[in-house]
């Protein structure tokens, strides 16, 4: 661990279990799931009137470990450590930050790799299909358990942004401020296509075995390939030029074989291989499916109608070079909120880092979020002048 300055320091993953039968959580599909465990972490202090809580929502491959380190020797901080901590955008000196692993995940929350108490075996593909709405419904139980009636803010990028939108729509009285970043109100057909290719890669792996690979060889190559495809969609043409160019990997000349020649190939293989060590292939199937299904206008017919009863203030952020969740999709959200006369602020950040920009922030996004939160915290009396 390099430095403690600006860091939340050593953090601990905690667990909360609810929905014990017969009080299972009823999912959007109509199926029931329970008991459910959510892995979560908190940073900072909840204030006396419990008004300063911010729920951070993670993306496809994220988890509850949003900031800080697990031990003194831990080299890798949480996935959004650049914006969470003392003095940072999500300032732990001012706010109480919560982040939980989604249901369907594989980092401590109940998902396909969890043991089904009815059978004593992992759920695998008998795990019910979950939605972004289900993830959020599960989170409300954690928020209840933490004694928080109304969140000051919900915030997240990509799939985290979908949850931030879902929170504002499904629980208008429980969120003051919603910050959806690099996201959409419904996944584009292009997004669904990439997700499906990733799922096919996993399911075609000879080790997949209908999802029953626990205790044996895992569908390593399929999951790595899915991750490689995913990573291409998170970058931009420009950032690939800058990061890799056409540089060769550890050689002067091309090999004239089908080995890894280029830096970009090496990078993708590395990302694929390391992902397999920490992520469950079945979770990848379930979570990408939840992303595909996400459509906020489903059931109301239009996004304008969906937002009719929301009460939150919104800060919507997109990145110019993000072609997976392009700015026009963020603008659709902005327009629908605007037509309803809702309080929405929109910022399009001129980053070259593609979809990944929300994780790699160089301070632009941070400043916007920090100022926005402070303004609303003062408006709501959470911060005193």
């Amino acid at each position: 661990m390099k430095t403690m300055a600006g860091s939340v320091g050593i953090v601990e993953k905690k667990f909360f279990t609810f929905a014990e039968p017969p009080n299972e959580l009823v999912l959007e599909s109509g199926e029931k799931l329970g008991p459910i465990t959510l892995a979560y972490e908190t940073y900072g202090e909840l204030n006396e009137d419990r008004s300063n809580a911010i729920l951070i929502l993670h993306a496809l491959s994220g988890d509850s470990h949003a900031a800080g380190f697990y031990s003194k020797n831990d080299k890798k901080p949480g996935w959004w450590d650049n914006v969470i901590g003392p003095g940072k955008a999500f300032d732990t000196d001012k706010y109480f930050i919560i982040c939980s692993n989604v249901i369907g995940g594989c980092q401590g929350s109940t998902g396909p790799s969890s043991i089904n108490p009815k059978t004593g075996k992992p759920y695998a593909l008998s795990f019910p299909v979950i939605t972004i709405g289900d993830m959020v419904n599960a989170q409300t139980h954690l928020i209840d358990y933490l004694g928080i009636e109304k969140l000051f803010a919900v915030a997240g990028g990509s799939m985290g942004g979908m949850q931030a939108l879902q929170w504002a729509v499904a629980y208008p009285d429980r969120v003051h401020v919603s910050i959806p970043i690099a996201t959409t109100a419904k996944l584009s057909p292009q997004g669904i296509a990439f997700n499906e290719v990733g799922r096919v890669a996993i399911m075609m792996d000879p080790n997949f075995n209908g999802g029953n690979y626990y205790g044996g060889e895992i569908p390593r190559r399929g999951l790595a390939l899915a991750r490689m495809i995913g990573h291409i969609t998170y970058l931009s043409d420009e950032s690939m030029h800058e990061k890799f160019g056409r540089a060769l990997r550890g050689k002067e000349r091309p090999s004239f074989r089908f080995d890894v020649d280029f830096e970009v190939e090496s990078y993708l293989h590395y990302k694929g291989d390391t992902f397999v060590e920490r992520f469950d292939a079945n979770s990848y199937l379930y979570i990408t499916k939840a992303i595909d299904y996400f459509d906020l206008s489903y059931g109301t017919g239009s996004l304008v109608e969906t937002f009719r009863d929301v009460k939150s203030s919104f800060l919507i952020i997109s990145f110019k070079s993000d072609w997976l969740y392009p700015p026009y999709q963020a603008k659709e959200i902005v327009k629908a909120l605007m037509v309803n006369g809702k309080d929405v602020t929109y910022c399009e950040i001129d980053s070259k880092y593609g979809h990944d920009a929300f994780l790699l922030d160089e301070g632009e996004m941070s400043v916007v979020i920090k100022n926005f939160l402070e303004h609303h915290a003062r408006r709501l009396g959470i911060l005193k002048d």
């Binding site: 902005v334 006369g341 602020t345 929109y346 910022c347 399009e348």
Partner: protein, 202 residues
């Protein structure tokens, strides 16, 4: 320029009644909106094309959308604001006619502020220098100016007459002697800056 811009802002703040709803097109760093909020308790929103401007607005606690007003305001319902402000922005938009008609559809009233290109110093500059005029308000060179649709007080009044727009108030400003509001004759010659309160007829 600094002082004159502040006079603009003071004039506009005086023109807008307490508690109005205001949309500021091309709101820049948000200083006018902030002043309107602080001094008149308005419900304000801004639209600004630059990321820098948007960030400055957010730091002032303003509600702002990053967007291009040349793309129109089609998503705003008719008469959804008491006032739509277009200050020092008319001359930089690509389609001033579209922007003016949209602002008067969306707002009950519009407030337009722009530099008068028929100001006497500009006329003399062109006459004697034979070069594109530069003033405190128009400090750019011909090749790098964002001002692509400059007009005079007379041009603007003719435009309004021809497009069914009625002018409710005219305020002319000069930066001479520290900046003041002009009262008197020949504004097309002596006004350096003009601010109009306008409304669509009918």
């Amino acid at each position: 320029m600094e002082r004159t811009v502040r006079i603009d802002h003071n004039v506009i703040v005086r023109l807008i009644p307490e508690g109005s709803s205001v949309l500021d097109l091309g709101c820049g760093d948000g200083s006018l909106l902030k002043k309107l909020k602080d001094e008149k308790g308005i419900q304000g929103k801004g639209i600004e094309i630059s990321e820098i401007g948007v960030k400055q607005c957010i730091s002032k606690g303003l509600t702002v959308l990053q967007g291009d007003i040349d793309e129109g305001l089609r998503d705003y319902p008719d008469k959804s604001f008491d006032y739509v402000v277009l200050n020092q922005t008319l001359q930089v938009v690509k389609k001033p006619d579209l922007v003016l008609s949209e602002m008067l559809r969306v707002g009950k009233r519009g407030i337009v502020g722009f530099p008068n290109f028929a100001y006497w110093k500009i006329r003399l500059y062109l006459l004697f220098e034979g070069r594109m005029p530069k003033t405190r308000f128009l400090p750019y060179e011909w090749y790098n100016t964002p001002n692509i649709h400059l007009c005079s007080v007379k041009d603007f009044e003719i435009y309004c007459a021809e497009h069914g727009i009625s002018i409710e108030r005219r305020i002319y400003i000069s930066t001479e002697r520290g900046g003041r509001i002009l009262r008197g004759v020949m504004p097309n010659l002596f006004a350096e800056n003009a601010i109009y309160v306008i409304r669509k007829n009918g």
